[in-house]
Symmetry: C2
Subunit: 236 residues, 2 copies
Amino acid sequence: MWTIGQLAQATRTTVRALRHYDQIGLLRPSERTQNGHRRYGPDDLRRLYRIRALRTFGLSLDEIATALEAPASMPTLLRAHLASLSRRATEIDALRTQLTRLLDHDDPADYLKALEMMAMLDAYFTPEQQDSLAARREELGPEAIETAKGEWLTLVESLLGCVRTGAAPDSREARDLVARWDALAAGFHTGGAGTETAARQMWAENSEEISARLPWGADEMRALMVYVNEVRSQHA
Amino acid sequence: MWTIGQLAQATRTTVRALRHYDQIGLLRPSERTQNGHRRYGPDDLRRLYRIRALRTFGLSLDEIATALEAPASMPTLLRAHLASLSRRATEIDALRTQLTRLLDHDDPADYLKALEMMAMLDAYFTPEQQDSLAARREELGPEAIETAKGEWLTLVESLLGCVRTGAAPDSREARDLVARWDALAAGFHTGGAGTETAARQMWAENSEEISARLPWGADEMRALMVYVNEVRSQHA
DNA sequence: CTTGAATCGGACGTAACGGCAGGTCGTACG
DNA sequence: CGTACGACCTGCCGTTACGTCCGATTCAAG
Protein backbone atom coordinates (compact mmCIF):
# COMPACT_ATOMS: atom_id res chain seq x y z
CA MET A 1 0.00 0.00 0.00
CA TRP A 2 1.32 3.39 -1.00
CA THR A 3 0.40 6.98 -0.36
CA ILE A 4 -0.34 9.28 -3.26
CA GLY A 5 3.11 10.84 -3.07
CA GLN A 6 4.88 7.50 -3.11
CA LEU A 7 2.86 6.31 -6.06
CA ALA A 8 3.53 9.49 -7.98
CA GLN A 9 7.23 9.14 -7.37
CA ALA A 10 7.31 5.46 -8.25
CA THR A 11 5.59 5.99 -11.58
CA ARG A 12 7.08 9.40 -12.41
CA THR A 13 3.73 11.06 -12.49
CA THR A 14 2.53 13.89 -10.25
CA VAL A 15 0.31 14.01 -7.22
CA ARG A 16 -1.95 16.38 -9.08
CA ALA A 17 -2.41 13.97 -11.96
CA LEU A 18 -3.33 11.13 -9.62
CA ARG A 19 -5.90 13.30 -7.90
CA HIS A 20 -7.24 14.17 -11.32
CA TYR A 21 -7.56 10.51 -12.25
CA ASP A 22 -9.37 9.94 -8.98
CA GLN A 23 -11.71 12.82 -9.64
CA ILE A 24 -12.77 11.64 -13.08
CA GLY A 25 -13.03 8.06 -11.87
CA LEU A 26 -10.23 6.72 -13.99
CA LEU A 27 -8.14 5.50 -11.05
CA ARG A 28 -9.73 5.33 -7.66
CA PRO A 29 -7.50 4.37 -4.72
CA SER A 30 -8.70 1.06 -3.34
CA GLU A 31 -8.71 2.48 0.18
CA ARG A 32 -8.84 5.64 2.18
CA THR A 33 -7.32 6.03 5.62
CA GLN A 34 -9.52 7.24 8.44
CA ASN A 35 -8.59 10.86 7.83
CA GLY A 36 -9.29 10.66 4.13
CA HIS A 37 -5.79 10.04 2.78
CA ARG A 38 -5.67 7.94 -0.37
CA ARG A 39 -4.15 4.47 -0.17
CA TYR A 40 -3.14 2.74 -3.39
CA GLY A 41 -2.67 -1.04 -3.63
CA PRO A 42 -0.86 -3.27 -6.14
CA ASP A 43 -3.88 -3.45 -8.41
CA ASP A 44 -4.02 0.31 -8.53
CA LEU A 45 -0.36 0.38 -9.45
CA ARG A 46 -0.89 -2.01 -12.31
CA ARG A 47 -3.82 -0.01 -13.59
CA LEU A 48 -1.77 3.17 -13.38
CA TYR A 49 1.03 1.58 -15.39
CA ARG A 50 -1.44 0.72 -18.11
CA ILE A 51 -2.86 4.20 -18.04
CA ARG A 52 0.56 5.80 -18.35
CA ALA A 53 1.56 3.55 -21.22
CA LEU A 54 -1.58 4.37 -23.17
CA ARG A 55 -1.10 8.04 -22.40
CA THR A 56 2.38 8.08 -23.90
CA PHE A 57 0.78 6.79 -27.08
CA GLY A 58 -1.40 9.87 -27.04
CA LEU A 59 -4.76 8.36 -26.17
CA SER A 60 -7.18 10.60 -24.33
CA LEU A 61 -8.20 9.72 -20.80
CA ASP A 62 -11.67 8.99 -22.08
CA GLU A 63 -10.36 6.51 -24.61
CA ILE A 64 -8.15 4.95 -21.97
CA ALA A 65 -11.10 4.52 -19.66
CA THR A 66 -13.16 2.69 -22.25
CA ALA A 67 -10.17 0.66 -23.37
CA LEU A 68 -9.46 -0.57 -19.86
CA GLU A 69 -13.13 -1.29 -19.36
CA ALA A 70 -13.17 -3.65 -22.31
CA PRO A 71 -9.66 -4.89 -23.11
CA ALA A 72 -10.98 -6.81 -26.08
CA SER A 73 -11.63 -3.52 -27.83
CA MET A 74 -8.04 -2.44 -27.50
CA PRO A 75 -6.67 -3.78 -30.78
CA THR A 76 -9.29 -1.90 -32.75
CA LEU A 77 -8.79 1.25 -30.77
CA LEU A 78 -5.02 1.11 -31.04
CA ARG A 79 -5.13 0.42 -34.72
CA ALA A 80 -7.34 3.44 -35.22
CA HIS A 81 -4.98 5.51 -33.15
CA LEU A 82 -2.03 4.29 -35.15
CA ALA A 83 -3.79 5.42 -38.30
CA SER A 84 -4.43 8.86 -36.85
CA LEU A 85 -0.79 9.09 -35.84
CA SER A 86 0.20 8.29 -39.40
CA ARG A 87 -2.09 10.97 -40.75
CA ARG A 88 -0.61 13.44 -38.34
CA ALA A 89 2.89 12.42 -39.43
CA THR A 90 2.24 13.11 -43.11
CA GLU A 91 0.57 16.37 -42.17
CA ILE A 92 3.65 17.46 -40.26
CA ASP A 93 5.85 16.45 -43.16
CA ALA A 94 3.83 18.66 -45.46
CA LEU A 95 4.11 21.59 -43.10
CA ARG A 96 7.84 21.05 -42.78
CA THR A 97 8.52 21.17 -46.49
CA GLN A 98 6.26 24.19 -46.81
CA LEU A 99 8.11 25.94 -44.01
CA THR A 100 11.50 25.09 -45.44
CA ARG A 101 10.46 26.48 -48.76
CA LEU A 102 9.22 29.65 -47.13
CA LEU A 103 12.49 30.05 -45.25
CA ASP A 104 14.35 30.10 -48.56
CA HIS A 105 13.20 33.66 -49.07
CA ASP A 106 15.87 36.15 -48.20
CA ASP A 107 13.91 39.36 -47.85
CA PRO A 108 11.73 39.41 -44.73
CA ALA A 109 9.17 41.42 -46.68
CA ASP A 110 8.84 38.46 -49.01
CA TYR A 111 7.73 36.42 -46.02
CA LEU A 112 4.62 38.47 -45.61
CA LYS A 113 3.69 38.33 -49.27
CA ALA A 114 4.32 34.61 -49.41
CA LEU A 115 2.20 34.08 -46.33
CA GLU A 116 -0.66 36.01 -47.86
CA MET A 117 -0.51 33.97 -51.04
CA MET A 118 -0.57 30.73 -49.08
CA ALA A 119 -3.61 31.71 -47.09
CA MET A 120 -5.34 33.08 -50.15
CA LEU A 121 -4.93 29.90 -52.11
CA ASP A 122 -5.88 27.85 -49.07
CA ALA A 123 -9.01 29.90 -48.63
CA TYR A 124 -9.88 29.99 -52.27
CA PHE A 125 -9.63 26.37 -53.21
CA THR A 126 -12.10 24.12 -51.53
CA PRO A 127 -10.56 21.25 -49.57
CA GLU A 128 -11.80 18.74 -52.10
CA GLN A 129 -10.12 20.57 -54.93
CA GLN A 130 -6.92 20.70 -52.97
CA ASP A 131 -7.24 17.00 -52.28
CA SER A 132 -7.16 15.85 -55.81
CA LEU A 133 -4.69 18.28 -57.25
CA ALA A 134 -1.56 16.40 -56.37
CA ALA A 135 -2.76 13.13 -57.83
CA ARG A 136 -4.24 14.62 -60.97
CA ARG A 137 -1.24 16.70 -61.77
CA GLU A 138 0.94 13.67 -62.20
CA GLU A 139 -1.60 11.92 -64.38
CA LEU A 140 -2.18 14.84 -66.70
CA GLY A 141 1.43 15.72 -67.22
CA PRO A 142 3.00 19.16 -67.53
CA GLU A 143 1.54 20.25 -70.87
CA ALA A 144 -2.06 19.87 -69.70
CA ILE A 145 -1.13 21.85 -66.63
CA GLU A 146 0.22 24.64 -68.76
CA THR A 147 -2.90 24.93 -70.90
CA ALA A 148 -5.02 24.90 -67.75
CA LYS A 149 -2.91 27.70 -66.40
CA GLY A 150 -3.46 29.70 -69.57
CA GLU A 151 -7.19 29.20 -69.32
CA TRP A 152 -7.06 30.16 -65.73
CA LEU A 153 -5.23 33.36 -66.54
CA THR A 154 -7.94 34.51 -68.96
CA LEU A 155 -10.59 33.62 -66.43
CA VAL A 156 -8.85 35.68 -63.81
CA GLU A 157 -8.70 38.64 -66.16
CA SER A 158 -12.39 38.41 -66.94
CA LEU A 159 -13.25 38.16 -63.29
CA LEU A 160 -11.07 41.10 -62.45
CA GLY A 161 -13.11 43.01 -64.99
CA CYS A 162 -16.24 42.09 -63.05
CA VAL A 163 -14.69 43.29 -59.86
CA ARG A 164 -13.64 46.61 -61.37
CA THR A 165 -17.01 47.28 -62.97
CA GLY A 166 -18.71 46.21 -59.77
CA ALA A 167 -20.82 43.51 -61.41
CA ALA A 168 -23.30 41.99 -58.97
CA PRO A 169 -22.25 38.61 -57.56
CA ASP A 170 -25.48 37.07 -58.74
CA SER A 171 -25.16 38.39 -62.30
CA ARG A 172 -25.12 35.80 -65.04
CA GLU A 173 -21.69 36.81 -66.18
CA ALA A 174 -20.07 36.41 -62.78
CA ARG A 175 -21.74 33.09 -62.16
CA ASP A 176 -20.74 31.77 -65.55
CA LEU A 177 -17.15 32.76 -65.04
CA VAL A 178 -16.98 31.14 -61.63
CA ALA A 179 -18.64 28.06 -63.00
CA ARG A 180 -15.96 27.82 -65.67
CA TRP A 181 -13.37 28.35 -62.98
CA ASP A 182 -14.78 25.51 -60.93
CA ALA A 183 -15.04 23.34 -64.01
CA LEU A 184 -11.41 23.97 -64.72
CA ALA A 185 -10.51 22.98 -61.21
CA ALA A 186 -12.81 19.99 -61.53
CA GLY A 187 -10.61 18.76 -64.33
CA PHE A 188 -8.03 18.13 -61.68
CA HIS A 189 -10.60 16.53 -59.47
CA THR A 190 -10.18 12.81 -59.06
CA GLY A 191 -12.91 11.97 -56.63
CA GLY A 192 -11.84 12.90 -53.14
CA ALA A 193 -9.35 10.19 -52.31
CA GLY A 194 -5.92 11.07 -51.00
CA THR A 195 -4.95 13.13 -48.03
CA GLU A 196 -5.77 16.77 -47.72
CA THR A 197 -2.40 17.67 -46.35
CA ALA A 198 -0.33 16.17 -49.12
CA ALA A 199 -2.23 18.36 -51.53
CA ARG A 200 -1.69 21.43 -49.44
CA GLN A 201 2.02 20.83 -49.76
CA MET A 202 1.44 20.49 -53.48
CA TRP A 203 -0.25 23.87 -53.46
CA ALA A 204 2.64 25.48 -51.71
CA GLU A 205 4.73 24.74 -54.77
CA ASN A 206 2.06 25.95 -57.15
CA SER A 207 1.39 29.11 -55.26
CA GLU A 208 4.96 30.22 -55.67
CA GLU A 209 4.96 29.30 -59.29
CA ILE A 210 1.73 31.12 -59.95
CA SER A 211 2.21 34.13 -57.77
CA ALA A 212 5.65 34.74 -59.20
CA ARG A 213 4.14 35.18 -62.66
CA LEU A 214 1.09 37.11 -61.62
CA PRO A 215 0.63 40.15 -63.84
CA TRP A 216 -1.82 41.64 -61.32
CA GLY A 217 -1.08 43.18 -58.00
CA ALA A 218 -1.67 41.33 -54.80
CA ASP A 219 -4.41 43.74 -53.84
CA GLU A 220 -6.46 42.97 -56.90
CA MET A 221 -5.87 39.30 -56.27
CA ARG A 222 -7.27 39.62 -52.80
CA ALA A 223 -10.33 41.45 -54.00
CA LEU A 224 -10.82 38.75 -56.60
CA MET A 225 -10.70 35.96 -54.05
CA VAL A 226 -13.30 37.66 -51.93
CA TYR A 227 -15.49 38.23 -54.95
CA VAL A 228 -15.34 34.63 -56.11
CA ASN A 229 -16.30 33.33 -52.71
CA GLU A 230 -19.17 35.75 -52.69
CA VAL A 231 -20.42 34.51 -56.04
CA ARG A 232 -20.18 30.95 -54.83
CA SER A 233 -22.27 31.63 -51.75
CA GLN A 234 -24.97 33.11 -53.99
CA HIS A 235 -25.05 29.85 -55.79
CA ALA A 236 -25.54 27.81 -52.62
CA MET B 1 -15.07 47.21 -46.55
CA TRP B 2 -16.57 43.95 -45.37
CA THR B 3 -18.79 42.83 -42.55
CA ILE B 4 -17.60 40.13 -40.21
CA GLY B 5 -19.66 37.49 -41.97
CA GLN B 6 -18.33 38.38 -45.38
CA LEU B 7 -14.76 38.34 -44.15
CA ALA B 8 -15.24 34.97 -42.49
CA GLN B 9 -16.65 33.52 -45.66
CA ALA B 10 -13.95 35.03 -47.86
CA THR B 11 -11.16 33.58 -45.76
CA ARG B 12 -12.83 30.32 -44.75
CA THR B 13 -12.70 31.15 -41.08
CA THR B 14 -15.64 31.62 -38.74
CA VAL B 15 -17.35 34.64 -37.33
CA ARG B 16 -16.54 33.41 -33.86
CA ALA B 17 -12.84 33.22 -34.64
CA LEU B 18 -12.81 36.79 -35.94
CA ARG B 19 -14.56 38.01 -32.82
CA HIS B 20 -11.99 36.12 -30.80
CA TYR B 21 -9.12 37.78 -32.66
CA ASP B 22 -10.76 41.10 -32.01
CA GLN B 23 -11.15 40.35 -28.34
CA ILE B 24 -7.51 39.44 -27.80
CA GLY B 25 -6.38 42.36 -29.92
CA LEU B 26 -4.87 40.26 -32.68
CA LEU B 27 -7.09 41.66 -35.41
CA ARG B 28 -9.14 44.75 -34.72
CA PRO B 29 -11.54 45.91 -37.42
CA SER B 30 -10.39 49.26 -38.68
CA GLU B 31 -13.88 50.67 -38.27
CA ARG B 32 -17.13 50.22 -36.47
CA THR B 33 -20.49 51.32 -37.80
CA GLN B 34 -22.54 53.64 -35.68
CA ASN B 35 -24.35 50.78 -34.00
CA GLY B 36 -21.23 48.83 -33.24
CA HIS B 37 -21.00 46.43 -36.18
CA ARG B 38 -17.45 45.61 -37.22
CA ARG B 39 -16.14 46.85 -40.55
CA TYR B 40 -13.00 45.27 -41.98
CA GLY B 41 -10.87 47.00 -44.62
CA PRO B 42 -8.25 45.70 -47.09
CA ASP B 43 -5.47 46.03 -44.54
CA ASP B 44 -7.44 43.90 -42.11
CA LEU B 45 -7.87 41.30 -44.82
CA ARG B 46 -4.17 41.17 -45.51
CA ARG B 47 -3.40 40.84 -41.83
CA LEU B 48 -5.95 38.07 -41.53
CA TYR B 49 -4.37 36.18 -44.42
CA ARG B 50 -1.04 36.32 -42.67
CA ILE B 51 -2.59 35.18 -39.44
CA ARG B 52 -4.27 32.21 -41.09
CA ALA B 53 -1.11 31.16 -42.88
CA LEU B 54 0.91 31.20 -39.68
CA ARG B 55 -1.87 29.32 -37.91
CA THR B 56 -1.79 26.48 -40.40
CA PHE B 57 1.87 26.12 -39.55
CA GLY B 58 0.81 25.56 -35.97
CA LEU B 59 1.98 28.80 -34.38
CA SER B 60 0.04 29.99 -31.36
CA LEU B 61 -1.90 33.23 -31.53
CA ASP B 62 0.56 34.73 -29.10
CA GLU B 63 3.49 33.85 -31.33
CA ILE B 64 1.64 35.18 -34.35
CA ALA B 65 0.99 38.46 -32.60
CA THR B 66 4.63 39.00 -31.75
CA ALA B 67 5.71 37.85 -35.21
CA LEU B 68 3.46 40.33 -36.96
CA GLU B 69 4.57 43.03 -34.57
CA ALA B 70 8.20 42.59 -35.60
CA PRO B 71 8.43 40.89 -39.00
CA ALA B 72 12.22 40.85 -38.74
CA SER B 73 11.93 38.25 -36.01
CA MET B 74 9.97 35.89 -38.21
CA PRO B 75 12.87 33.88 -39.69
CA THR B 76 14.14 33.02 -36.22
CA LEU B 77 10.70 32.18 -34.97
CA LEU B 78 9.84 30.06 -37.97
CA ARG B 79 13.13 28.23 -37.84
CA ALA B 80 12.49 27.41 -34.20
CA HIS B 81 9.03 26.22 -35.07
CA LEU B 82 10.39 24.08 -37.86
CA ALA B 83 12.74 22.46 -35.38
CA SER B 84 9.92 21.73 -32.98
CA LEU B 85 7.91 20.24 -35.83
CA SER B 86 10.83 17.99 -36.65
CA ARG B 87 11.11 16.86 -33.06
CA ARG B 88 7.44 16.10 -33.01
CA ALA B 89 7.80 14.12 -36.23
CA THR B 90 10.49 11.83 -34.86
CA GLU B 91 8.50 11.45 -31.67
CA ILE B 92 5.48 10.31 -33.64
CA ASP B 93 7.64 7.92 -35.62
CA ALA B 94 8.87 6.36 -32.41
CA LEU B 95 5.33 5.96 -31.13
CA ARG B 96 4.25 4.42 -34.40
CA THR B 97 6.89 1.72 -34.39
CA GLN B 98 6.16 1.03 -30.72
CA LEU B 99 2.47 0.72 -31.43
CA THR B 100 3.02 -1.52 -34.43
CA ARG B 101 5.20 -3.77 -32.33
CA LEU B 102 2.56 -3.88 -29.63
CA LEU B 103 -0.10 -4.79 -32.16
CA ASP B 104 1.90 -7.86 -33.12
CA HIS B 105 0.73 -9.55 -29.96
CA ASP B 106 -2.12 -11.92 -30.59
CA ASP B 107 -3.56 -12.44 -27.15
CA PRO B 108 -5.36 -9.36 -25.85
CA ALA B 109 -4.17 -10.29 -22.36
CA ASP B 110 -0.64 -9.83 -23.63
CA TYR B 111 -1.52 -6.24 -24.41
CA LEU B 112 -2.02 -5.43 -20.77
CA LYS B 113 1.20 -7.07 -19.68
CA ALA B 114 3.15 -5.40 -22.44
CA LEU B 115 1.67 -2.04 -21.54
CA GLU B 116 2.68 -2.50 -17.93
CA MET B 117 6.23 -3.35 -18.89
CA MET B 118 6.48 -0.29 -21.09
CA ALA B 119 5.32 2.06 -18.41
CA MET B 120 7.49 0.35 -15.81
CA LEU B 121 10.62 0.76 -17.84
CA ASP B 122 9.67 4.28 -18.75
CA ALA B 123 9.16 5.14 -15.12
CA TYR B 124 12.19 3.31 -13.89
CA PHE B 125 14.86 4.64 -16.15
CA THR B 126 15.53 8.32 -15.80
CA PRO B 127 15.12 10.32 -18.99
CA GLU B 128 18.85 10.90 -19.19
CA GLN B 129 19.52 7.19 -19.05
CA GLN B 130 16.97 6.62 -21.76
CA ASP B 131 18.57 9.34 -23.79
CA SER B 132 21.93 7.78 -24.09
CA LEU B 133 20.97 4.18 -24.41
CA ALA B 134 20.39 4.10 -28.11
CA ALA B 135 23.66 5.74 -28.96
CA ARG B 136 25.77 3.78 -26.52
CA ARG B 137 24.39 0.44 -27.49
CA GLU B 138 25.73 0.71 -30.98
CA GLU B 139 29.13 1.78 -29.78
CA LEU B 140 29.53 -0.98 -27.25
CA GLY B 141 28.42 -3.79 -29.46
CA PRO B 142 26.29 -6.81 -28.57
CA GLU B 143 28.76 -8.67 -26.35
CA ALA B 144 29.11 -5.77 -23.92
CA ILE B 145 25.35 -5.57 -23.82
CA GLU B 146 25.11 -9.23 -22.92
CA THR B 147 27.56 -8.97 -20.01
CA ALA B 148 25.72 -5.89 -18.78
CA LYS B 149 22.52 -7.85 -18.90
CA GLY B 150 24.08 -10.62 -16.83
CA GLU B 151 25.25 -8.16 -14.22
CA TRP B 152 21.87 -6.59 -14.23
CA LEU B 153 20.21 -9.94 -13.59
CA THR B 154 22.29 -10.57 -10.46
CA LEU B 155 21.57 -7.06 -9.25
CA VAL B 156 17.88 -7.60 -9.70
CA GLU B 157 18.06 -10.80 -7.70
CA SER B 158 19.91 -9.13 -4.86
CA LEU B 159 17.45 -6.28 -4.79
CA LEU B 160 14.52 -8.66 -4.82
CA GLY B 161 16.10 -10.17 -1.71
CA CYS B 162 16.02 -6.76 -0.09
CA VAL B 163 12.39 -6.33 -0.99
CA ARG B 164 11.44 -9.73 0.43
CA THR B 165 13.32 -9.26 3.68
CA GLY B 166 11.93 -5.75 3.93
CA ALA B 167 15.32 -4.06 4.15
CA ALA B 168 15.00 -0.35 4.87
CA PRO B 169 15.42 1.86 1.77
CA ASP B 170 18.17 3.78 3.54
CA SER B 171 20.14 0.69 4.52
CA ARG B 172 23.70 0.50 3.28
CA GLU B 173 23.00 -2.67 1.31
CA ALA B 174 20.08 -1.26 -0.61
CA ARG B 175 21.89 1.93 -1.40
CA ASP B 176 24.96 0.07 -2.59
CA LEU B 177 22.95 -2.13 -4.86
CA VAL B 178 21.09 0.76 -6.40
CA ALA B 179 24.38 2.62 -6.80
CA ARG B 180 25.79 -0.35 -8.72
CA TRP B 181 22.63 -0.44 -10.77
CA ASP B 182 22.95 3.21 -11.64
CA ALA B 183 26.64 2.74 -12.38
CA LEU B 184 25.75 -0.05 -14.75
CA ALA B 185 23.27 2.18 -16.49
CA ALA B 186 25.85 4.97 -16.46
CA GLY B 187 28.06 2.75 -18.59
CA PHE B 188 25.57 3.38 -21.31
CA HIS B 189 25.47 7.02 -20.53
CA THR B 190 27.08 9.22 -23.13
CA GLY B 191 26.43 12.67 -21.82
CA GLY B 192 22.87 13.68 -22.52
CA ALA B 193 22.96 14.32 -26.24
CA GLY B 194 20.44 12.68 -28.53
CA THR B 195 16.71 12.83 -28.44
CA GLU B 196 14.67 11.42 -25.67
CA THR B 197 12.12 9.93 -27.94
CA ALA B 198 14.46 7.94 -30.12
CA ALA B 199 15.73 6.25 -27.00
CA ARG B 200 12.25 5.47 -25.81
CA GLN B 201 11.69 3.60 -29.02
CA MET B 202 14.97 1.81 -28.33
CA TRP B 203 13.64 0.81 -24.95
CA ALA B 204 10.50 -0.56 -26.43
CA GLU B 205 12.64 -3.16 -28.18
CA ASN B 206 14.69 -3.88 -25.10
CA SER B 207 11.70 -4.19 -22.85
CA GLU B 208 10.33 -7.03 -24.90
CA GLU B 209 13.68 -8.72 -25.01
CA ILE B 210 14.19 -8.41 -21.30
CA SER B 211 10.70 -9.07 -20.07
CA ALA B 212 10.42 -12.19 -22.18
CA ARG B 213 13.35 -13.74 -20.30
CA LEU B 214 12.41 -12.54 -16.87
CA PRO B 215 12.61 -15.38 -14.34
CA TRP B 216 10.53 -13.36 -11.88
CA GLY B 217 6.90 -12.57 -11.89
CA ALA B 218 5.55 -9.24 -12.96
CA ASP B 219 4.31 -8.53 -9.44
CA GLU B 220 7.77 -8.84 -7.96
CA MET B 221 9.09 -6.69 -10.74
CA ARG B 222 6.62 -3.98 -9.91
CA ALA B 223 7.51 -4.07 -6.24
CA LEU B 224 11.15 -3.86 -7.18
CA MET B 225 10.65 -0.79 -9.33
CA VAL B 226 8.86 1.00 -6.54
CA TYR B 227 11.56 0.00 -4.09
CA VAL B 228 14.39 1.27 -6.25
CA ASN B 229 12.76 4.60 -6.73
CA GLU B 230 12.27 4.80 -2.99
CA VAL B 231 15.95 4.13 -2.36
CA ARG B 232 16.87 6.79 -4.86
CA SER B 233 14.75 9.41 -3.22
CA GLN B 234 16.47 8.65 0.09
CA HIS B 235 19.72 9.41 -1.57
CA ALA B 236 18.60 12.78 -2.83
C1' DC C 1 -44.47 47.34 -41.26
C1' DT C 2 -43.13 42.96 -40.57
C1' DT C 3 -40.19 39.10 -40.87
C1' DG C 4 -35.93 36.45 -41.37
C1' DA C 5 -31.00 36.93 -41.47
C1' DA C 6 -27.01 38.98 -39.54
C1' DT C 7 -24.78 41.01 -35.73
C1' DC C 8 -23.82 42.20 -30.94
C1' DG C 9 -21.81 41.13 -26.18
C1' DG C 10 -21.63 37.70 -22.58
C1' DA C 11 -21.34 33.32 -20.65
C1' DC C 12 -20.16 28.46 -20.35
C1' DG C 13 -17.57 24.28 -22.13
C1' DT C 14 -13.50 21.90 -23.89
C1' DA C 15 -8.42 18.29 -22.14
C1' DA C 16 -5.39 17.34 -18.83
C1' DC C 17 -3.74 18.84 -15.67
C1' DG C 18 -0.51 23.12 -13.00
C1' DG C 19 -0.60 26.07 -9.30
C1' DC C 20 -2.31 28.32 -5.37
C1' DA C 21 -5.07 29.00 -1.05
C1' DG C 22 -6.49 27.58 3.30
C1' DG C 23 -7.01 23.79 6.44
C1' DT C 24 -5.71 19.14 8.80
C1' DC C 25 -2.55 15.66 10.47
C1' DG C 26 1.65 13.55 12.21
C1' DT C 27 6.14 13.99 13.83
C1' DA C 28 10.78 15.53 14.86
C1' DC C 29 13.22 19.05 17.36
C1' DG C 30 14.48 22.50 20.80
C1' DC D 1 5.31 21.13 25.66
C1' DG D 2 5.02 24.22 21.87
C1' DT D 3 6.16 24.65 17.20
C1' DA D 4 7.83 24.22 12.72
C1' DC D 5 7.85 21.29 8.71
C1' DG D 6 6.38 18.01 5.42
C1' DA D 7 2.67 15.46 3.34
C1' DC D 8 -1.93 15.28 2.72
C1' DC D 9 -6.78 17.13 1.99
C1' DT D 10 -10.58 19.91 -0.77
C1' DG D 11 -11.68 23.44 -3.68
C1' DC D 12 -10.98 27.03 -7.31
C1' DC D 13 -8.82 29.59 -11.14
C1' DG D 14 -5.89 29.50 -15.40
C1' DT D 15 -4.36 27.53 -19.67
C1' DT D 16 -5.68 27.26 -25.90
C1' DA D 17 -8.50 28.64 -29.55
C1' DC D 18 -12.16 28.85 -30.29
C1' DG D 19 -17.61 26.13 -30.50
C1' DT D 20 -22.05 26.73 -28.91
C1' DC D 21 -25.91 28.90 -27.07
C1' DC D 22 -28.41 33.10 -25.30
C1' DG D 23 -31.25 37.24 -25.45
C1' DA D 24 -31.15 41.67 -27.48
C1' DT D 25 -30.50 44.74 -31.54
C1' DT D 26 -30.17 45.86 -36.16
C1' DC D 27 -30.16 45.15 -41.23
C1' DA D 28 -32.32 44.20 -45.74
C1' DA D 29 -36.10 42.80 -48.30
C1' DG D 30 -40.90 42.34 -49.36
